[in-house]
């Protein structure tokens, strides 16, 4: 675990292996320490587990955001997203000609194939897909793992709010892009994000 010379015991002139029996005592100490500290077992069915943020449980669909661009279905590595749609004409009064828009007929994700890579969610340009931490959707029949768009829509209620930005992470793309634009317009760029601890901000 660590440098053996640290645990040489009280005998200063002992060899590198330390006092005879020091290893035996160390083994006993490890088990005793583990016994007196809290055990790591989670009582799962009785107590809900504490999932880490951004847990990948199930994919939720916000149907009204979907434009049937098919990017998710095309990027899916194992082709488990099935999309059907048709075009509808929308006649706007006063417009020169009727507009066309896509209407989603079918949006199925087969969770018996899905490998939870999250590429569909990453690739969606309209924020129609989200990770939900719900994971208790086991079925007795494998074909029930095909969730249709109503089922996927129901998971939207379980989607947590996006976690706060990591203060040590690099700033968001939007922020850096805006800062670059401002810097191009003005000679002295303002600080986008205050250095932690340097500027207390307007709260003080």
């Amino acid at each position: 675990m660590s440098d053996p010379s640290e645990h040489g015991g009280p005998a200063g002139g002992a060899s590198e292996r330390g006092m005879p029996g020091a290893g035996l005592v160390k083994g006993l100490a490890v088990t005793l320490k583990t016994m007196t500290s809290r055990s790591t077992t989670q009582q799962y069915p009785d107590v809900a587990p504490e999932l880490p943020p951004r847990s990948r449980g199930v994919i939720a669909l916000s149907e009204e955001n979907c434009t049937v661009c098919m990017l998710c279905a095309r990027e899916c590595p194992d082709w488990c997203i099935y999309i059907d749609s048709h075009k509808e004409e929308v006649a706007v009064p006063g417009a020169a000609r009727p507009r066309q828009r896509n209407v989603l007929d079918k949006f199925d994700i087969d969770f018996s194939l899905c490998m939870y890579c999250g590429i569909c969610i990453e690739v969606c340009p309209f924020d129609a897909l989200y990770w939900s931490p719900e994971f208790e959707y086991a079925e007795y029949d494998i074909k029930d793992l095909l969730h249709d768009k109503d089922h996927l829509g129901q998971w939207m209620a379980t989607v947590p709010p996006p976690p706060a930005h990591d203060p040590n992470g690099e700033p968001a793309k939007e922020e850096t892009a805006a800062a670059r634009k401002v810097a191009a317009a003005r000679p002295t760029p303002p600080v986008v994000r205050p250095e932690p601890g340097a500027d207390p901000g307007p709260a003080s």
Partner: protein
Amino acid sequence: MPLWVELVLRVGGVLVAFLTLPLLVGQAEHKVMAHMQGRLGPMYAGGFHGWAQLVADGVKFVQKEDITPREADRAVFRLAPAVALVPYLLVLLVIPLGPNDLVGQPLDIGLFFVLAVVGVGVVAVLMSAWASANKYSLLGGLRGAAQLLGYELPLVLAAASVAMAAGTLSLSGIVEAWQPWWLLWQAPAMIIFFVAGLAEIRRPPFDMPVADSELVFGYMTEYTGLRFAFFLLAEYVGIVVIAALTTVLFLGGWQGPFADDQLGWLWTLLKVFAVAFVIIWLRVSYPRLREDQLQRLCWLVLVPASLAQLVLTAAVRIAL
């Protein structure tokens, strides 16, 4: 009190101890081992922290089919679990719980009787090993025989040291003669007796005869159902017996901080459970000794050390 009432009381008490103490030790092993490994152990059986786990295990064992292999030596095969179990029951009979004859059967040669009867265990191991007609059983049994015969020697020599110090073979007499400074004087004998006792009951780290990762389950491989449960029960009674003998011989038995006459049984039980905890603790902490390491420890360390302890005991005894 007529004789038969006293007899029933004493035998009944020993029987109750025989049936409850191993269960307590077994449950403690479940829980202590689990927590030492960062787990919780049984949590469901009985409702509260799995207190009835061993009862449930017992019910399960009773329901299982009792299989005797076709090639097995039927009579010997079926007798072996009883031979493994009964010696420990007889040992419990003479271990004193408290002062004033609070013991199943006071015996003047109690120590001699105990050592002789515990030695019968090797017969059960050999019986089950030979009769199973299974190579793993045979390997485990022969390892067990070599181990038990070897460790019998330091066990007896360490016990002889304390008997010499007390000047009696009676277990009650040894406890009465015991004084706290014996903890220092007899410390090597205590360690030798405890280690040899662990080997006698084939507990890890001395579980080479069972060695489930290489010998399936050693001499118990072919056993199922109740007979297997008897072997397991014998192991846990063995823990109680070794813990009780260590307590009585080396830790002063019923001698406690106060009220020895009234609370002697409590001090004895506390010490027994403390030693049993150490036995479980060693099992969790240490890996199994290899067969050659096992024999080396016995013949090159424990036997010479116990002989040296005998010399020391004799010298102090003559000087005093």
